[in-house]
């Protein structure tokens, strides 16, 4: 979710950085204990993968194109912690290396997409995959996107509540929940569906045509 810097108040992003910081520390410890010396090489390549997945553009009925996020896919293939750390690194590189900005949106994106998205996507997939694998993949990928969108919509929507002047004029993002929720969620229904379809097809390619064994 690319929001330029200046729309989130410090009352938002500073605490979010604190929470994200704890999550990163926990994530690093978890991954290291599982992988030890394989940690850095794996994170590096999954970060590169996450970046290139976000470059893939697919069409929506009606003519627009959207970019994949890869959240669900990464969580299902590599586990939610690796997905979280890699996605966080992608956001960091976009902010400081590629000049896409977003240093204030980073903790929100990391927590919404990287953490909440990954864990939910993974969870939904695990719940359903014994029953019907393609549905599990679709649902996992779509839920990840929708939950991330919901969190971002909520955080944006409360900006006028937590950061306004005494007379009520906004200082950062100007719209409340009544606007952000539909404005963000409705388009993301389509994005989530597209991501779901793409994820199912990608898995099919992996398993049937590239003969990759998945966990």
């Amino acid at each position: 979710m690319h929001i330029p810097d200046g729309f989130l108040s410090p009352q938002t992003y500073l605490p979010l950085y604190a929470v994200a910081g704890v999550a990163w520390a926990v994530g690093m410890r978890r991954i290291r204990s599982a992988l030890d010396e394989r940690t850095i090489p794996l994170l590096a390549v999954v970060t590169a993968l996450a970046f290139v997945l976000s470059m893939i553009a697919v069409p929506l009925p009606g003519g627009t194109t959207v970019h994949a996020t890869g959240i669900g896919l990464l969580a299902i293939l590599f586990g939610p912690w690796v997905a979280f750390m890699s996605l966080s690194l992608v956001f960091l590189m976009q902010a400081l290396l590629f000049g896409d900005g977003g240093i204030t949106a980073l903790p929100l994106n990391a927590l919404a997409m990287g953490l909440a998205g990954s864990f939910t996507g993974y969870g939904v997939y695990k719940l359903l995959h014994q029953w019907h694998a393609p549905t599990a993949l679709f649902a996992g990928a779509a839920t990840a996107v929708l939950l991330a969108a919901l969190i971002v919509a909520l955080v944006l929507g409360i900006q006028p509540l937590i950061a306004s002047r005494a007379d009520g004029t906004p200082l950062f993002f100007p719209f409340g929940l009544a606007i952000t929720l539909p404005a963000v969620m409705l388009p993301h229904l389509a994005v989530a569906a597209a991501e779901g379809v793409l994820t199912v097809m990608l898995f099919r390619f992996l398993v049937r045509f590239r003969e990759v064994r998945t966990a």
Partner: protein, 185 residues
């Protein structure tokens, strides 16, 4: 070391830009950033403008429409918001232009190495993906159907997943042979 300080200054400046709500101060800050940019000022200003124009226009126009119906437009909000976004975006572009981020993040050698490794692989992946899109254009006689575009996306994505799975094991071996893990053994 210089880059690390620059990073700190940048971060503090960004936070400061979100703590100040006076239009003259923000305007002054923008002027300061352009001064720091010196010869690159025009380039940075143009880039920043291009980066934010679509989103900001959308928010500004929506705000004006909604505010018109409700309480009336707070013009100083519009100016404040757009100045703030332009300021932070310009600072970001100036930072990216002047500072080596790998040095700036060198306070953590693991992070620095991780970023370098990720970056080199990322560049390769990006180049290959660009060629994949070009190859598709090259072989398309007309507009492609949705199914074909999704198939191409899935096939391309699966290529990189497969690469990622095999690269990961290679990197670990190379690092081990260079003694990177010796102190962890």
């Amino acid at each position: 070391m210089k880059d690390r300080i620059a990073l700190l200054v940048y971060l503090v400046a960004v936070v400061a830009a979100t703590l100040v709500h006076a239009i003259p101060v923000l305007a002054l800050a923008i002027a300061l950033v352009m001064l720091l940019a010196w010869r690159d000022a025009r380039k940075i200003a143009r880039r920043a403008l291009l980066a934010i124009v679509v989103f900001n226009l959308m928010i500004s126009v929506s705000y004006m429409v909604i505010a018109l119906i409700q309480d009336g437009i707070a013009w100083d909000y519009l100016v404040l918001m757009n100045l703030r976004v332009f300021l932070i975006t310009s600072m970001t572009f100036l930072f990216v232009e002047r500072v080596n981020p790998f040095n700036a993040l060198a306070f953590s050698p693991s992070l620095s190495y991780l970023l370098t490794l990720a970056y080199t692989q990322l560049l390769t992946f990006r180049r290959i993906y660009h060629d994949m899109r070009l190859a598709l254009t090259s072989r398309s006689l007309g507009r492609l159907r949705m199914k074909q575009l999704y198939r191409h996306g899935a096939a391309s994505g699966s290529f990189f997943v497969e690469k990622a799975l095999s690269n990961a094991s290679e990197s670990a071996q190379a690092m081990r042979s260079r003694g990177f893990f010796n102190d962890q053994v």
